[in-house]
Symmetry: C2
Subunit: 339 residues, 2 copies
């Protein structure tokens, strides 16, 4: 499990590819950021972070806090400049109020603001998301005094993985930097031997939409749950782009298959769900619930609804809200509506 | 069953009520029109209609043709002026190429362009939809030579129902006008005793989003299907705002519960589906498929997906595309993104 960040969608990069680039009033485009903070129990802290993000002008689509993961995830959108400013505003609160020395949770982490991915959502491309990531990374180091790793499309070369950066967790970076993991950016006059003593290191990235989700199961053993996770994940020969861990949640007295799916266009998340469901049922257990962190993507909802309703025809392109977003984000629509 | 037009959504009037009215570049707003044409078999005619609508600048979100109903439905969006122009362009082709004297189908109809509802979608209200309906109605009579009835929010007083206007079908209006159904608008120098001899009468309306859908069932008798339809419809004491008919589809050798749900905020369409499913199963039959005419609303898809996936929490507000539409349609967002 590399990241608890979570949103997703129906395309891999930008809206409106049917019609080409957006122009005019839309030229700024819509950027999404999904910062993950290492606090999921004290809602006053999480609330202060969300308030700071909203105060900086970003639209907060969703936020959630998970006490077992001891982690919170905020999904925000706005112009690139606004999202950059809002991400820094949230980071400032997190760095002030989260102390990793006392932090425990089942989710791997190395920073108070643990990961900060930027996602091109409409009217802009990955290059612009990458540029914002690099700019915000510099501000995190220079203005907020926290070392930075770049990952995914923001690393140089692109493709660095969070799992690699987070191996050993915060504790493994507190006393010194591993040789293969020197920070990409270090604050000036850095006197610590390793990471920031309370705020750790922040991983700043740029990437397409992904789906972070958990399937809660019951009636099987932890070993069986780990077996299912191992069989469905990419590394075990399962679904491409799927990372999966089986976690025990003492608070809920249940088992969780915790997953990230990197490309929901290549692999249907509903097919993943069906596979888990089939394996759990075959073992005599049951699926208790599905939890989506952040925004719920059409790519998960639509096939599940089509299955439940036995929807006729090729209905996936007829989800009204999706088509309206495409319409609103397309320059053709702008021109038409100004007429 | 009063109308095969079909689209729907998650609110009853306009987007962005969370934030108030839209201003600036969005002030034109997005209007939807869902014309229903009495041709569902000759796809050359349907294609020519769709081409004319597109050619006039509207965005065609969806179109479909049903050979059993012998009817086609186009869902278009755009600025009020563009949608008005496009609706007339489609009407012109329909009036030229559809001859109701040879028309047969299981769906009630009185016009080549049978119904033409306008729906305020984003950034405008029912008053503006009503104004467009009245204006397009005048053009239908004066420029295209077809008598017009106004219905729903466009009638005076508002609330006239399609079922009332379509009683007896085209055939009942060809020779003379019933006393209680004189047309609201008649072309100048009208020499016919009743409706237009080939194009009939067009019903022009304004209304909120609705859901038009069919559930195909098997393994029960036509009488049982009629019993289910009677028990779920509003008139039978069932769901408020639901109209339902049981139709026999010889082409598919199946039975269809054909429905319009007027307010999917008041009544969950998934609950209607569940009720049908339960009654059909109790009779030893099965649900074969669900067909949505026009765009598929979140209000149907989301609860069905939540049921299938056992989605945790209050996830209905977290459908990404829906939230993006709200964001894009809100003036708050405009101000933010222009900054």
């Amino acid at each position: 499990m590399e990241s608890g960040n979570a949103e997703s969608g129906w395309y891999d990069g930008e809206f409106g590819s049917r019609r080409g680039r957006v122009s005019g009033v839309m030229s700024a485009g819509i950027l999404e950021a999904v910062p993950n903070f290492s606090e999921g129990r004290d809602l006053r802290v999480v609330g202060a972070i969300v308030d700071a993000i909203r105060g900086a002008g970003a639209e907060v689509l969703d936020w959630s806090a998970d006490p077992d993961h001891n982690r919170s995830v905020v999904t925000m959108v706005g112009s690139p400049a606004t999202v950059a400013r809002a991400a820094l505003a949230g980071a400032r609160v997190a760095i002030e109020r989260i102390d990793l020395r006392g932090h425990e949770g089942v989710h791997p982490r190395i920073g108070a603001l643990d990961v900060l991915p930027f996602v091109p959502l409409a009217g802009l491309g990955m290059e612009e998301a990458r540029a914002v990531a690099r700019q915000v990374g510099r501000a995190l180091a220079e203005e907020l005094g926290v070392p930075v790793y770049f990952y995914a499309e923001a690393s140089d070369p692109p493709g660095r993985r969070l799992s690699e950066l987070r191996r050993g967790g915060f504790e493994g970076l507190a006393a010194s930097w591993p040789h293969d993991r020197m920070p990409d950016l270090l604050p000036e006059s850095w006197t610590h031997p390793g990471a920031h003593p309370t705020a750790g290191v922040t991983c700043v990235g740029a990437r397409p939409l992904l789906l972070a989700w958990n399937v809660l199961v019951a009636g099987i053993t932890p070993t069986e749950a780990r077996g299912i996770a191992a069989s469905i994940r990419e590394l075990g020969g399962g679904f491409p782009g799927l990372r999966a861990l089986a976690l025990e949640l003492p608070r809920k007295n249940a088992l969780q298959i915790s997953m990230n799916l990197e490309d929901i266009q290549a692999v249907s998340p509903f097919e993943v769900f069906r596979r888990i469901e089939a394996e759990v049922l075959a073992l005599g257990g049951s699926v208790v619930e599905t939890e989506v962190i952040g925004m719920v993507p059409d790519g998960l909802v639509f096939p599940a609804a089509a299955d439940r309703l036995r929807l006729a025809g090729e209905a996936s392109g007829r989800l009204l809200s999706r088509r309206l977003v495409e319409y609103l984000a397309a320059d053709g629509a702008r021109g038409e509506r100004d007429a």
